[in-house]
Structure formats: C-alpha cells, structure tokens
C-alpha cells in the first residue's frame, strides 16, 4: 500500500484541468481584490525589467556617444533620463515586493481553508470510507498534495505570469530595436524550445522511474525496519542486505539518470543563451559595420542585454509547467476527497432533557435533569416523548460490508435495560459487526434495529452515539493531559466529575502516582502508559460520558489477567445499571452475563445464560471446557 501511494504521488497527470483550476480559483475568490493587485503588480514588475533595458539605447546614443571627448558636457538630459529610469525601476521593485507579500497572504490563507475543508470532510466521512483507505494515503493529501498546491499558488503561477510577460515584452522590444536580429533570435528560440522539451520529457520520464524505484526502496526499508527484530532472530541479515543492494542499485541507476537530465537543463539553456549572445554580438557587429538594419551602438548594446534575458524565463516556464501539472494532480486528489459523500443523517428523533410531569408523563425540560427522553416528532405534527432506557433489539438483521458478502445472517437479539449481553465466537464471526450496527457506523435497512422501540435509522446519529459508549481493544488516547482525555467523554464535565469517573474506573490511584497526576501530558497515543493503564483511562472516559448503553469490544484482551482483575473491578462498577454488550474471547469475563450469544460465521448458533449453555453441551461448552481440557 505504501508503495502504491508513493508511486501515485509523482508523475500522475491531472484528469480534469478546467474543473480543478476553477476549484482553486473559487478558494482564491475571497482574495479577489488582492489578486487584482497581484496581477497588476506582476505586470508592472516584469514590465519595468523589460523597459529598463531599453533605456541603454538612448543613454548610449543620445547622451554618451554625442558627448564623447567633450569638455563640460551637458548632462542634464542624461540625469533626467536616469531619474526616469530610476523611477521605473523603483516601481518595479515595489511591485515585486507588493505582489510577493500579497501572495504570502493569499497562499497561506487558501491553504488553511483547503486543509480545514479536508479535515472537516474527513470527520464527516462514514467509517466505511476510513476502513477502505490507509492512514498513509489520507495523510498524503495533507502533506504532499497540499504542499504541491502551496508551491503552485505562491510560486509557480506568479512566476509563470511574470515569465510570460517578460518573454512577450522582450520580444516586442527586440522587434522594435532590430527586426533582423530578432529573426535570428526566433531561430534560436525554436532551438531552445526544442531543447527544453527534449530534456524536459526525458527527465520527466526518468523522474517517474526514480520515484517508483524510491518507493520500492522506501517500502523495503520500512518493512525491514519494522521487522528488524525478526530479521535478527532468523539471522536473515545477509539476505536482506543482498536484496537491499539489488534495489538500491536500481534506484541509483534511475536517480543518476533522472538527475543528469535535470542537472544539464540549466547549463544547456544557459549556454544556449550565451550562444545567442555571441551570435548576436557577431552578427550585430557585422550589421553595424555595414550599416545594415539601422543598427547603431546603443541599439546593439540594448539588444545584447535583451538576448541574454531571454533564456531565463523560457527555462522558468518549462520548469513551472511541470510543477503546475504535478500540483494540479495533487489538487485533484484533494478535491476528490472533499467531494466524497459525507455520512448521511436523516434522523429526526433527538435526545432531550426531560422531567416527569404531574401525571408521571414525560415532558421536555430545558435544564439538565439527569432524565433523558427521545423526542419523536410525527408527520401529523404531534410530538411524543419516550424515556431513554437503553433497550436494544435486533430483528432479523442481515448485513454485509460489501454486497454479496454477508457477515451477519438473520440476527435477532434483544437487550433489556440493564442487561449484560455477551457475544462470543472466533475472529471474523461477526461480533464487532453487531456493535458497528448499533451505533450506525454502518447502516442496515429500516426497522431492523430498535433503540427503546425506535427505529435507529430515525434517530439523529450524534444523539444515538451519545447514548452509547464504547471501550475498544485498541486504546486510543489523544495528545493532552490525563484530565483532558477523560473529559473527552463529556466536554463540559467538571474536574470533580472527571476524578469521580476515574475513581469509578479504578484509575484514580495510578493517575495520582503519575509525575503530574491528572495534569500529566500523554504523548503519542499515550505511549508513556502501560496497556492496562490506558484501558483504565478509556473506561474512565466512557464513565464520564455516562450513557445508558455500553459496548466493550475485546476491552481486556490485550491485557494480562492480573491487570485485567484490576480493570474488571472498574468495569463492573461502570456496567452497573447499563445495558452492556461485551465481546470477549476470554470466556471467564462473560460468565455472569444475562445472555451469551455464541456466534459462528455470522450467525448466532447458541444463546442462553452460562448455566444453560453449559447444560446444552454445545459449542460454548466445548470452548469453555477446552480451556481446562489438559488438567
């Protein structure tokens, strides 16, 4: 996967120029007025450079040559000409400054908005999308692709405009100065264009090969580095060195080829420029001697300067075009992500604070009461309130992540408020899928799953999820303090509430032993805590959210049994009074469930409480006793 991503990064041509450019322009729309200034300033800046050179002609012809050898020459005309020139140049310098400065504003601003849109869309995309794309792939939208866009907006485009203007300007000036010499320049120009295209296309192809090869080498390095300990255990060092030398050698070949073309572009173009210069000098000299083409000293001098200024922008254009193509391909990938269909939420039943009316009926309350209710507006305009209890029912649910590949078949189950339901079975039996459906990470057809009797597809997703807390096997914590991580469960929780939740989860004592207690900063996914401690924080986080339904998905499977015993106390307290779904492969943790569902190949093959299942002497019995069969 890594390899694929890297290869995609370079050399891919954008599919739809127009559309992508339009999108970029729409991001720039906010800076419309500044952009107008930018374009004007670029024109002035490039124009000043072109115009300035022209002044050499009058300087030589009108103010120097006529006065050569004279005592007390009249320099007043010369001075005023130079002042005019200075003014033009000053305008050029100022324009350069202004447009560069404005482009900083624009490019950083556009980039921030693109990043924000990207991130926001990522947040809104369904879990399904995240499952299908690697983190590396999504991250490269934020890094490689946006970087390329920034380059393009802040440098390539201004550069391109400026170069184009310079070329046109220089060309016009040359025509004015000497059409004859210009003709020669045109021939040179064609040669140059040809050289640029030749070298450019070669180097482009070789660079793509280099990128591919680099991807292979990087992929190998990644894989071997990650598996380095295994390499050592199997004494595979020499073999991996051999293979590395092979692909590293290939990379060298590709890289030296690619860089050769990139490196010779500048000297060749530069020297073609000098060739231009030399030819102009020689031919111009001949013309001047013979008085042909109206060429005088000033004209020749001015022309010579132009002929040298001609190469730079041509090289620039070819380089910037490459950058722009690459950036557009990146931008296209970025917009493609932004255009992905976000998670749809057509729910209209929402969770509200409630209180009991005089007659015991439930009514909406504006204050936080601790009592929650589902507010269910009906098509006839009436609204009903149902108390939030945590009753969950599956009615004949069949589901597959992909079409034609069912993961769950005809699942029916119910969990009454306060019950503990265990899901048992081997990997891939569909246990986690069930929990993914409850909180609508994935959707099932209408009416199949009901929460407190309400079709969950009618419930607003945020409200549905708020009523279910999850503790997963992978303990994801965020960079921040311990307190902040616990508060993640309920953002407006006070410090006291968080500490109380930590106490409930049996996490309080270890937190107090951390160097800064609750203010200890957790880094890189909580790496400075043990697995067990991280899981305790996860439990505390769920506790502070205080939902009626709790899902524990293999919450203790990566923890040793002694630590588990410690966590279990916290979990037991957390589970009290809630509807709980427990997924575990350690059967001892599910014994006391109200109902145990044994799953196999997406079906519930046995159900009942522990005693009933043991008495059944079926799969559960086998699994359970298998643990002790050797004694």
């Amino acid at each position: 996967m890594q390899r694929g991503r890297r290869m995609k990064g370079a050399g891919q041509k954008p599919r739809n120029f127009g559309q992508t450019i339009k999108r970029i322009l729409s991001y720039m729309g906010k800076y419309r007025i500044q952009l107008v200034f930018v374009v004007v300033c670029i024109i002035v800046s490039a124009g000043a450079g072109v115009a300035g050179n022209y002044f050499l002609k009058p300087i030589i012809n009108d103010y120097i040559v006529p006065y050569v050898g004279r005592e007390n020459p009249d320099l007043s005309g010369f001075i005023s000409l130079l002042i005019t020139l200075a003014a033009i140049y000053l305008a050029g310098v100022l324009s350069t400054f202004i447009y560069s400065r404005l482009m900083v504003n624009i490019s950083t601003g556009v980039l921030k908005n693109v990043r924000t849109d990207l991130f926001n869309r990522l947040q809104d995309l369904p879990v399904k999308y995240h499952d299908k794309h690697t983190h590396g792939e999504l991250m490269s939208r934020f890094t490689n692709d946006t970087d390329a866009m920034r380059e393009m907006i802040s440098q390539s485009i201004p550069n391109l405009i400026s170069s184009l203007i310079t070329i046109v300007g220089v060309f016009v000036m040359m025509l004015i100065l000497s059409p004859l010499l210009t003709l020669m320049i045109v021939v040179m120009l064609i040669i140059m264009m040809f050289a640029v295209r030749f070298i450019g296309s070669r180097s482009g192809k070789l660079f793509v090969r280099q990128q591919e090869q680099l991807g292979v080498v990087n992929g190998y390095i990644e894989e071997m580095t990650e598996g380095q300990k295994v390499v050592k255990v199997f004494c595979h060092e020499e073999r991996s060195k051999e293979r590395f030398d092979e692909i590293n050698g290939e990379l060298f070949k590709a890289a030296s080829g690619a860089h050769t073309f990139a490196n010779i572009l500048m000297p060749i173009m530069g020297n073609l420029g000098y060739l231009n210069y030399a030819l102009t000098a020689a031919v111009g000299g001949v013309l001047a001697i013979n008085g042909l083409g109206g060429l005088d000293l000033g004209t020749l001098g001015s022309f010579l300067t132009y002929s040298r200024n001609f190469t730079m922008p041509i090289t620039q254009i070819s380089q910037q075009m490459n950058n722009i193509l690459m950036a557009l391909a990146g931008a296209e990938r970025v917009f493609d992500l932004i255009d992905q269909q976000p998670e749809i939420d057509e729910g209209y039943v929402c969770l509200v604070n409630a209180r009991r009316g005089a007659g015991g009926e439930i009514e909406e309350s504006r204050k936080r009461t601790g009592l929650w209710a589902w507010k269910h507006p009906h098509s006839d305009g009436t609204v009903t309130y149902t108390e939030l209890k945590g009753d969950i029912r599956f009615e004949d649910v069949t589901f597959g992540y992909e079409e034609n590949k069912t993961v769950l078949q005809n699942i029916s189950l119910y969990a009454k408020p306060g019950q503990k339901i265990a899901l048992v079975g081997s990997t891939g039996a569909g246990k986690t899928t069930i929990t993914n459906l409850v909180n609508r990470f994935y959707d099932v057809p209408d009416g199949k799953i009901r929460y407190d009797g309400i079709n969950i597809n009618k419930i607003k997703k945020p409200d549905l999820r708020r009523s279910i807390a999850m503790v997963l096997q992978d303990t994801h914590l965020f960079t921040g303090t311990v307190m902040e991580n616990i508060r993640y469960g309920k953002l407006d929780a006070s410090d006291e509430e968080c500490v109380a939740a930590a106490r409930l989860a049996n996490a309080d004592s270890f937190i107090r032993h951390l160097p800064d207690g609750y203010n200890t900063l957790l880094t890189a996914d909580g790496a400075n805590l043990s697995q067990g401690q991280r899981q305790l924080l996860n439990i505390a986080r769920a506790a502070v959210a205080d939902p009626p339904v709790l899902v524990l998905d293999e919450a203790t499977s990566s923890i040793d049994t002694r630590t588990e015993a410690m966590i279990e106390k916290g979990m037991d307290k957390l589970m009290q009074g809630r509807t709980v779904f427990v997924i575990a492969h350690r059967l001892s943790t599910v014994r006391n469930s109200d109902a145990i569902m044994v799953m196999e190949h997406g079906q519930i093959i046995e159900r009942g409480n522990h005693d009933a299942l043991i008495a059944l002497k079926g799969k559960y019995y086998q699994l359970y006793t298998g643990m002790f069969e050797l004694s």
Partner: protein, 575 residues
C-alpha cells in the same frame, strides 16, 4: 561529521571531483564572453574590421559550445556522484541497521529510522549535489567576474564593492531572521500532521463520542496558528526578490551614470560599458545562489546529523571473540545469577538474581504480569540482549562464546510482536529454512495448526500476504510465525506469548501437535493463560524482575500465592 559523510562518496570520487572541475571551466569560459563581446564592439565595430568581428564572434561561439559541454558534463558528474553518494549512504545505514543489536534498535524508533534512511538521505543528496556544483560555481563566478570588472576599469568596479556587501548583508540578515521562524513553522506543521494522524487512527472514538465538531474546532485553531507562523516566516523570505532587483537596478543606474561619464571622458569604451552591464547580472545572481545554497545546506545539516548519529552508533553485540567452530550441542539452558538492565545500569535492573536450569528437551512455562521481565528473560537466550550481570549458558557454554548465527539458528524465538513480510506464505515460511522441502513445511504448519487454514485459501501456500500480512487474522499470523520458527528445526524454541490471539482449543491443539513432532526440542513458553503452561515440566513464576517460584502446576498451586491468584482469576467460579 563531514568527514564521515564524505567517506560515503567512495567509488564515485572521480565524479565528485569531475563535477567541480568541469564547473570551473564552464564558469571561466562564461566569464570571458562579455569581455570578447566588448572587443567586437570596441575593436571590430569601431575600426569597421569585419574579419575581426567574425573571428572573435566565431571564437565566442566555440567557447560557448565548450562551456555547454563542460556544463553538461558537470551536470552528469554531479548526478552520478550525488546518486552514488546517496546509494552508499543508504547502504551504510541499512547495513548498520542489520548489525544492530536489539538494544541499538530500541534506541531509534522505527519511524525515525525510516526517516533517516529515506527523507534525510534525500536531503543530504540534494545538498551534496548543490555543494559540488552550485557552491563551486557561484563563488568562482562571483570572484572572477568581479576580478574582470576590475581589469576593465577599477574605478567603475568600485560600484560592486558597495553592491556586493550590501546584497550579501541584506540576504544574510534576512536568512538568519527567517531561519528560526521557519523552524518554528515546521514544528507547527509537524504538530498539525500529528494531530491529523491521531484523529485518523482514533476516528471510531471520535465518532462514537460525537466529537467531530469539537475536533474540527481544534483543527481550525491549529491550522490558523500554522497559517500565522507560515506568514511570519514567508513574509521575510519574499524580501529576497525585491532586494535582489533593487541591487541589480541600482547597479544598472550607477554603471550607466558613472560609466557614461567615463566614456565621455575617454576612459572607457562603449563595448566595455556593455560588458560591465553583463557582469552585473553574473555577480549578483551568483551571490543570490550562494545565499540560497547556504539555506539549503543549513536545512540539510539536521538531516546529516541524524544520519551520522546512526553511523556512529556502535553495535553492542558482536561475536568477534566467538569460537567459530563451537556448535550448539543440545537444548539445555542455564541462567547463572543473571541480572539485566536495558540501560546497562547495574543500579536499575529489570531482571535480578535469576538462576535457573532448564534441561534439554524440557518444556518450561513462564507466568507473570506485564512488565515483570518475562520477555527480557528469554531474550537473553538467543543473545538478543547481553546479560548485564552473570552468565547465560546454552549447552554448557556462555552464549557469548558462540557465533551469533550458530546460536540463533539453534534457538528459535517467536516474538511477542511478530511480523510477517510481503510475499507469499511459502516465502515467509522459508525464512525459517530456505531449503525446506514441501514435506517439512507441511509438517511444521501442521504442528503449528496452520496447515488447515492455509489450505483453505484459494492459493494455499502461494497466497500473497501483502505488506505485514494484512490479510490474516491475528491468530493466523501467530500460527504462521510459530510454523516459521519450527522450520528452523531448533534445539530450543521460545514462544513469547505467541498464542494470545489463538482460541483456547487451537492453543491446546498446537501444544499437543508440537509435543508429538518436536518432543526433543526444549520449549520455553511465556503465556497469560495458565492452561497454556500447566502441563509443562516446570513453571517459572516471575514477579518484579525476579523468579518468585519454580515448580509444577500442582506444586505452585499449593505453595505460590501469585500463581494461585492468576489461576483463580482465570476460572472464576468455573466448575
């Protein structure tokens, strides 16, 4: 640091020398051009000497062609030297990594190691190419062009004595001010990316706690922060262009004014005047290039330092003093009063006072909570780490006496965090024994209870695993890893919690199949489940870096509190 890196140029030295040499020729030819042009104007045109114009013109063309040749050569040389340098650098790092012991590997995180071998090497390669070309070209150009202007007219050339320091100081000030701002911007950028990554990994948590909007707000704030930092840094950097233009234009005006007056006074020829104008560009752009290269080189310094850090790391396990002829005779293991610390600090031991004797062919279980030192203990046997105190003996010899390959080929270990590599199942299995035939492979897979599930795949043993074995479940991966280790046909096999993701039934199947086919192999099994070790010849209970007790299941159940506690927690209320 530079010396160490330079040694990596190796066989590409002639290219690395060729590049600056060709560049020097290229520059000298380039520098002479404006001078010759001046001759055309001042001698040829002034005297209406056609043949002189053509002669000099022809000379110029020839010189340009040579200059082009040298330029292209230098480009080629620099490309080969740069790519070769990078190749050698990567190889040196990779080889070094192969020679690292576990302790060395632990020191560098995987991610940082990868960055060093990829991004950092690229940076250094770019800097290297820049040094052997641009950084040679620009100063020579600067000096010789300035020199030329002085030979033409020393009074007029004084302009450059003002302009060059002005631009140099300006660019220098700008760069030195911008650099820290850039660094702080990059840090913010990394921070933002880390934030995104964290979010992607934990997307289910974010969604199940309905924290999308909260995360968006936090992102928006960091993104705005980054934007500010970016503005602050780039604001300074964009000064370079106008500053350059300003210097260039000021020179033009100054040369026009002073030069014009010199021509009028008869002290300067018109052609020389034009060549002066030509040199302005050469001098100032080379200055600009120098400053640019300095920025690039400074930026790559950090990369170079990171690379050298790896090169300088001394592999702390070496078998230089090993007895090459010594073979591992049997599967007995003795820990002789062993103490161990990851930091080699005798005052802060992870393991202490470990004395344990394991006979050849025995099955030994190790039980204990996380972090009590179980993995540390067994890693000393194949000498993945060296004991800090005491000795570890295999077949009666200190492990340090063996050639490490000999030792590790006889002590197979299935690591807790095990890894499969991209390729087919067969290719992965062959890591254990390259020459294993199908029969041996099937036998090992059957012993590890992997044969059946492998056969259930459409491609069987030829199934492609993808990077890191992503197409397998955790339990399947573990079983493959066990089979891979069994294929070594080792005298000792160590399973470090290697069946944690395998269900209890399969777990017991593996153990009985293993007993059957590999009965003579010493087996050391670390496990969480008592069931995995209860039938072992002896069980070692570890606590807090020490051996708490050794005995059989029955003995320990009767006498050891920790063991009993774990046992009871695992069958709470059962039966």
């Amino acid at each position: 640091m530079i010396k160490k890196l330079a040694s990596c140029v190796g066989e590409y030295k002639k290219y690395a020398v060729g590049a600056p040499v060709s560049v020097t020729f290229e520059v000298i030819l380039e520098i002479l051009l404006p001078l010759l042009m001046a001759r055309i104007i001042d001698v040829g045109i002034a005297n209406s000497d056609m043949s002189y114009v053509l002669k000099i013109g022809g000379l110029m063309v020839v010189m340009v062609l040579f200059s082009m040749l040298f330029g292209a050569l230098s480009g080629r040389f620099a490309a080969v030297a740069g790519a070769g340098f990078a190749k050698n650098l990567r190889r040196k790092l990779f080889y070094k990594l192969q020679d690292f012991s576990f302790a060395n590997i632990d020191k560098f995180s995987t991610a940082s190691m990868i960055t060093r071998m990829t991004t950092d090497v690229n940076f250094v390669q770019m800097a290297f190419m820049m040094i052997i070309r641009l950084l040679v070209r620009a100063p020579i150009m600067l000096v010789s062009a300035t020199f030329m202007t002085f030979t033409i007219n020393s009074r007029l050339a004084l302009i450059f004595l003002v302009a060059v320091p002005f631009l140099a100081i300006g660019l220098g000030l700008m760069a030195s001010k911008a650099f820290p701002r850039f660094m702080s911007m990059l840090k913010k950028y990394d921070g933002l990316n880390a934030f995104i990554q964290e979010n992607l990994i934990a997307i289910r948590v974010v969604k199940s706690f309905v924290r999308g909007d909260y995360e968006k707000q936090r992102f928006e704030a960091s993104a705005a922060d980054l934007q500010r930092a970016q503005k602050r840094a780039e604001k300074l950097l964009v000064l370079a262009n106008p500053l350059m233009q300003f210097s260039m234009y000021a020179c033009m005006i100054a040369v026009s004014w002073f030069g014009g007056r010199l021509i009028i006074g008869g002290h300067l020829e018109a052609g020389e005047f034009f060549s002066f104008i030509g040199y302005i560009g050469q001098i100032l752009t080379s200055l600009m290039m120098i400053s640019m290269s300095f920025v690039m080189i400074t930026m790559s310094r950090a990369s170079a330092a990171r690379i050298v850090e790896v090169i300088d790391e001394i592999p702390d396990i070496s078998d230089e003093n090993a007895d090459r002829g010594l073979k591992v005779a049997d599967g007995s293991v003795v820990f002789d009063n062993v103490g161990f610390s990851y930091s080699k600090d005798k005052g802060n031991l992870t393991l202490s006072d470990i004395s344990l004797k394991i006979d050849s062919g025995e099955t030994v279980g190790i039980i204990g909570g996380t972090g009590v030192g179980k993995s540390s203990l067994v890693q000393l046997i194949p000498r993945l780490y060296d004991a800090t105190v005491g000795r570890v003996l295999v077949a009666g010899h200190d492990v340090r006496e063996y050639d490490t390959d000999e030792l590790r080929n006889n002590v197979a270990m299935v690591l807790q965090k095990n890894v499969l590599f991209s390729g087919t199942i067969m290719e992965n299995l062959k890591w254990g024994n390259e020459n294993a035939d199908d029969e041996q492979i099937v036998a090992a897979c059957k012993a590890a209870c992997a044969h059946d599930f492998i056969e259930s795949f459409p491609d069987g043993y030829q199934t492609d695993l993808g990077q890191g074995g992503v197409n397998l479940s955790g339990g399947q991966k573990q079983r493959l890893c066990i089979a891979r280790a069994l294929l070594k046909n080792p005298k000792i096999i160590i399973l470090d919690d290697s069946t944690s993701a395998v269900d209890t039934h399969t777990d017991s199947q593996i153990r009985s199949a293993f007993k059957e086919s590999f009965g003579n192999t010493t087996a050391i099994i670390i496990a969480q489940r008592i069931a995995s070790v209860m039938d072992a010849d002896k069980i070692v209970v570890m606590n807090d870096g020490r051996i708490d007790a050794v005995g059989t299941h029955e003995q320990l159940l009767a006498s050891n509190d920790i063991y009993r506690e774990v046992y009871e927690s695992q069958q709470k209320g059962a039966m």
